[in-house]
């Protein structure tokens, strides 16, 4: 996990940076032509190191900014992942191929989804040859989902996809989901065409009326029907620029979405917190009827279950362990963004949390021709402690705790 995290962060692409900003203003071909190599400037030694460092800094920073206001988020989610398996997925414009990249990202997506949404469910639908096929029903187990994707038989490509069929299939399951959970679909679409049996606008209207959110990640180009569908159902629509951008688009879906106004009334769900037991003699478990020595005892009916989270097979009580639940807390209590500290107030000598020395203001700003834009110091406004860029990223993306606020008294 840590390796992965490292890799994505080291990734740097100047073109990508320009395209990203252009995207907000309009079509990139209407823009004035930008020469990406102008961004790179050599310093006096003819080295690009400093510019690259600055760019890297900015990339890291850009990823960071996020909404820190406390909004209501639905932490019980129900999602269908719809994967296009049409012939268009065999294109090799994404390496190694659209299909292979999609499958490997889908696997990472599933793991991360369950990591961050521990009491949610996910199912997989594939579409090819004009039909849709359900690979897994909604389940709370990530391994079930990954296993079907690993099976080569399930991932053959054929013909054209059918958007309407897959929407209908996902809808037929999602409408039975209890109202306290969210209903979502995520479509990974490689094809520019779809083969539909009826009027897709009717399907979209029914999705809207049932509060189902549809998000689409397009691998080829923007498609009007997808854009319209996402807009109407309040989902997100993105077309990938390159491999890394594909991952970004996909992983944007992982944090729980804000709850829509229609379901904005809190409902209480009854849950049990079973305790784990280890016996010296094996006894039968209620879920598989196999003899086991360890397991969890349902808090209501005392039957033994092998794994959490699950529904008790006897009394149907939802069983979770408290660490599972605690995993989703950080979405509810986000920490504030740190602010960049300008050079003139950069007095701290080292990072508060990792003891890394900061760059010295006097030696770098005078000596070098390409002065660093940033002082490398970031401040938490609550506890007034200074952090380095790596800790800033780490604190906001991994720990979700401000070490300064927790380790000093100033915030209390």
């Amino acid at each position: 996990m840590s390796k992965q995290y490292k890799q994505t962060e080291e990734y740097i692409d100047v073109d990508d940076e320009i395209q990203n900003t252009a995207q907000q203003t309009g079509y990139s071909w209407e823009e004035e032509y930008k020469r990406s190599w102008d961004v790179l400037q050599e310093d006096e030694d003819g080295s690009l190191k400093r510019t690259v460092e600055n760019l890297q800094h900015r990339m890291k920073r850009k990823k960071l900014f996020r909404d820190t206001s406390t909004i209501r988020r639905g932490i019980i989610r129900h999602m269908f992942l719809i994967i296009d398996l049409s012939e268009a997925m065999m294109e090799k414009d994404l390496r190694p191929s659209r299909l292979e990249l999609t499958l490997s990202y889908a696997e990472q997506f599933i793991l991360e989804y369950f990591d961050q949404n521990p009491i949610s469910q996910l199912g997989i639908i594939v579409t090819k040859g004009g039909i849709a096929e359900k690979l897994t029903d909604l389940t709370g187990n990530p391994m079930d989902n990954i296993r079907v994707l690993k099976n080569k038989k399930n991932t053959d490509t054929d013909g054209e996809p059918s958007l309407q069929n897959s929407l209908q299939m996902a809808r037929s399951t999602l409408i039975h989901v209890p109202a306290h959970g969210s209903r979502e679909m995520l479509i990974i679409m490689g094809s520019l065409t779809t083969c539909d049996p009826g009027d897709i606008y009717d399907t979209i209207d029914s999705l809207v009326s049932e509060n189902i959110r549809v998000s689409v990640v397009g691998l080829a180009a923007e498609v009007q029907i997808c854009k319209l569908m996402c807009k109407k159902t309040k989902g997100t629509y993105g077309v990938v620029l390159n491999e890394a951008h594909f991952k970004d688009l996909l992983f944007e879906i992982i944090p729980p979405p804000p709850v829509s106004a229609a379901q904005n009334k809190a409902e209480l769900v009854i849950m049990g917190f079973p305790s784990s037991v280890t016996d010296s003699m094996p006894s039968l478990c209620a879920c598989h009827s196999k003899p086991t020595t360890s397991g969890y005892i349902c808090a209501r009916c005392n039957s033994k279950i092998c794994d959490l989270p699950t529904d008790c097979p006897v009394c149907e009580l939802t069983l979770v362990s408290s660490p599972h639940l605690a995993r989703s807390y950080h979405h509810l209590f986000p920490i504030d963004n740190f602010v960049e500290v300008p050079w003139n107030s950069a007095f701290a000598t080292h990072c508060f949390s990792c003891q890394m020395p900061f760059p010295n203001p006097t030696s770098t700003s005078l000596g070098a021709r390409v002065a660093p834009d940033t002082s490398g110091r970031y401040k938490c406004n609550k506890c007034n402690q200074y952090f380095c860029i790596d800790c800033d990223v780490f604190v906001h993306e991994v720990i979700h705790n401000c070490p300064g606020c927790l380790a000093t008294t100033s915030s209390h």
Partner: protein, 276 residues
Amino acid sequence: MNALKDTATVNEDDANLLVLIIDTNPLIWTKSAKSLSLKEALRHLLVFINAHLALKHDNEVAVIASHIGVSKFLYPIPNPSRLSENTDQAVDSNLYQRFKVVNDQVISNMKDLFEDVSTLNSYPDKASSMIAGALSMALCYTNRIMRADEIGHIKPRILIISISPDSPYQYISIMNCIFSAQKLGIPIDVCKVHSEETVFLKQAAHLTGGRYLKLQIPQGFLQFLMITFLPDRFTRNYQCLPGEEKVDFSASCFCHKKMIDIGFLSSIRTVFNLQI
């Protein structure tokens, strides 16, 4: 349990980073002074740290104090020049230089910490210490070291010497730390020296694949440290410890802070209401 998978990647030649978090709540240490005082415990801990450094030449150590109202690095600190004035510079020919540096810094920084009584007096919750802050700092520090070491040669672990009871207000932040440690594959070991069991830290050890030890015989502190916590992550694969006890996974409700078995969960904000 996730942490167990990663043991396959641990090698015999790996260097080890030990981040030691010492709970220095003076009020609780005074209570336990009869069986084991802080001074004595510190002496044991310094021997333990030296033993860790002596095991391999590239082993690293960091020491963080989790005090009332503040947590602070005791070693390494960014500008140790100030220190050398206070401590005598004389080189002891019978002592490995690195041991001396670590010991001196830890002792003198600890002294500074105890001399500063203003934060201690102003902080309301005197029963607990800032363990969540110390853990967050420890994780940031390990993250920095792991980032600097590109080939993945350094294997970090965290050891908490805990004496204060859990503070329910730190629950969420401690849980956040546990999950990030789990994600990074860092085991958290816990040694509980005094007072009753801590549920949070027990869960921490359980979830990250670390070890949990409740000290039964305080006089044998050093021996327990050496046997249980000195072995590195590679050696632990071959060591067999007494089986894990029952881990309490029940949740505490948000309204009364009581531990419950069955509760109600709001679908939007997690708030537990008391059992029917």
